[in-house]
Amino acid sequence: MDALIHQFFNLDIMTRALPLVLQGLQQTILLCLIVIPLGLAGGLLFALASLSASRAVRYGMILAIDFFRAVPPLVLLIFVYSGLPFAGIRLSPLTAVAVAFFLNTSSYYGEIYRAGIESVGRGQWDAARSTGLTAFATLTHVVLPQAVRNVLPDLVSNTVEVVKLTSIASVVALPEMLYSADMARSVTFNASPIVLAAAIYLAMLWPVVRLISRMERRIAS
């Protein structure tokens, strides 16, 4: 029991690791502020493209979305970061993460938006168009507001996934929170710094997870 506490909940080591881990937290937050808006915007574009009238665009987009949902994010990241240089494209860890995350998260957000748009009945579209609203105006004022409202739990849930996903950036040595915590672990031979990082993740995300559960249950009933 003592060994357990010493190895995983060593307060002394946690305190010493805290500054480093907090610095990592800053990077994590910065990363989130970059990739989440990128994903939300990209997802909307992907969704609209996947609903295009042109069959070529539609099939092409759906293929791309399924491709990026089938490839594990870590594989995509490693490919962008250490594979692309072989083709002459060398990206910084941050840019590589941004690109890989954009492709991956836009696909997931895109599917959510698409489901939302499809859940808004055809009648809404008809009514708006029949009053002379352009397709763009109809989308902006009538369809999207309802679509987003319908899939809000899924959007929030996916955003939580994106926040958790930033931890894989540690594999390409981006100094976010997990990387910093792991660094502290390798120096102290003790897992407590990582437990500290875990605690911070919990503090950030537990409330949101609770909220999502409640939203999901209210919709299911």
Binding site: A3, L4, Q7, F8, D66, F67, R69, A70, V71, P72, P73, L74, V75, L76, I78, F79, S82, G83, L84, F86, A87, G88, A115, S119, R149, N150, V160, E161, K164, L165, T166, S167, I168, S170, V171, L178, D182, R185, F189, N190, A191, I194, V195, A197, A198, Y201, L202, L205, W206, V208, V209, R210, S213, E216, R217, I219, A220, S221
Partner: protein, 224 residues
């Protein structure tokens, strides 16, 4: 264009390394399979236990589920992989990967199954009980069959997402696809093995993703 093919599709490298990638594929499939089975069964079990409405058990389940839904899988993997040996428990890396991913899948699956069970109208329970079914019987014959059908699309989506995390095994040395691919890449100084690895994942998972898309349209899960 030629440079691109040279960098990512060099034929002699493809011939040289495809057995290695295939080995990685087998490892990935084995672990994914194991994770799906244990994860879903555990999730279902937890949902059933939760329906017994025993306050203490419910609290424990909720804490477990929330934790494993809020933590990044890689964080848990590193804690278990680096921490356990230091307290004398030594398990191989593939077992660590299987254990962590199963628990994560179980946590998500429990929530999905639970939402499914809750969505079955009370009338179904009453009808079953009034014809003499006990609690477990009602669950087994009336409630779960309906609930599980409802949950097929989200379960499929979530399962795919979590089994893709087998790629995280590369960080702790599990010889799955990504690991084999990056090793081969370092040896050969060429990104072809990496491309092969990526394509291996695509071939493995696109059918499942397409299946999920098909199921989504077949079973409309949420109608707002």
């Amino acid at each position: 264009m030629n440079a691109f093919l040279e960098a990512f599709f060099k034929p002699n490298l493809i011939a040289q390394y495809w057995p290695l990638i295939l080995k990685g594929v087998l490892v990935t499939i084995e672990i994914a399979f194991a994770v799906v089975i244990t994860g879903l069964l555990l999730g279902l079990l937890l949902a059933v236990i939760r329906s017994l409405q025993i306050k203490l058990l419910n609290a424990l389940i909720v804490v477990f589920v929330d934790m494993f839904r809020a933590l990044p899988p890689l964080v848990i993997v590193l804690i278990v992989y680096f921490g356990l040996p230091n307290i004398g428990i030594s398990i191989p890396s593939f077992a660590v990967l299987w254990l962590v991913l199963s628990l994560v899948l179980a946590a998500f699956a429990e929530e999905i199954f639970w939402a499914g069970i809750l969505s079955i109208p009370k009338g179904q329970w009453e009808a079953a009980r009034s014809t003499g079914f006990g609690f477990l019987g009602t669950l087994a014959y009336i409630v779960l069959p309906q609930a599980v059908r409802l949950t097929v699309p989200p379960i499929t989506n979530r399962t795919v997402a979590i089994t893709k995390n087998t790629a995280l095994g590369t960080v702790i040395g599990v010889p799955e696809i990504l690991n084999q691919a990056t090793t081969a890449q370092s040896f050969s100084g060429n990104a072809t093995p990496l491309m092969m690895g990526a394509l291996a994942y695509v071939i493995l998972f696109i059918p499942v993703v397409a299946l999920g898309r098909f199921l989504e349209t077949r079973f409309a899960w949420r109608r707002s």
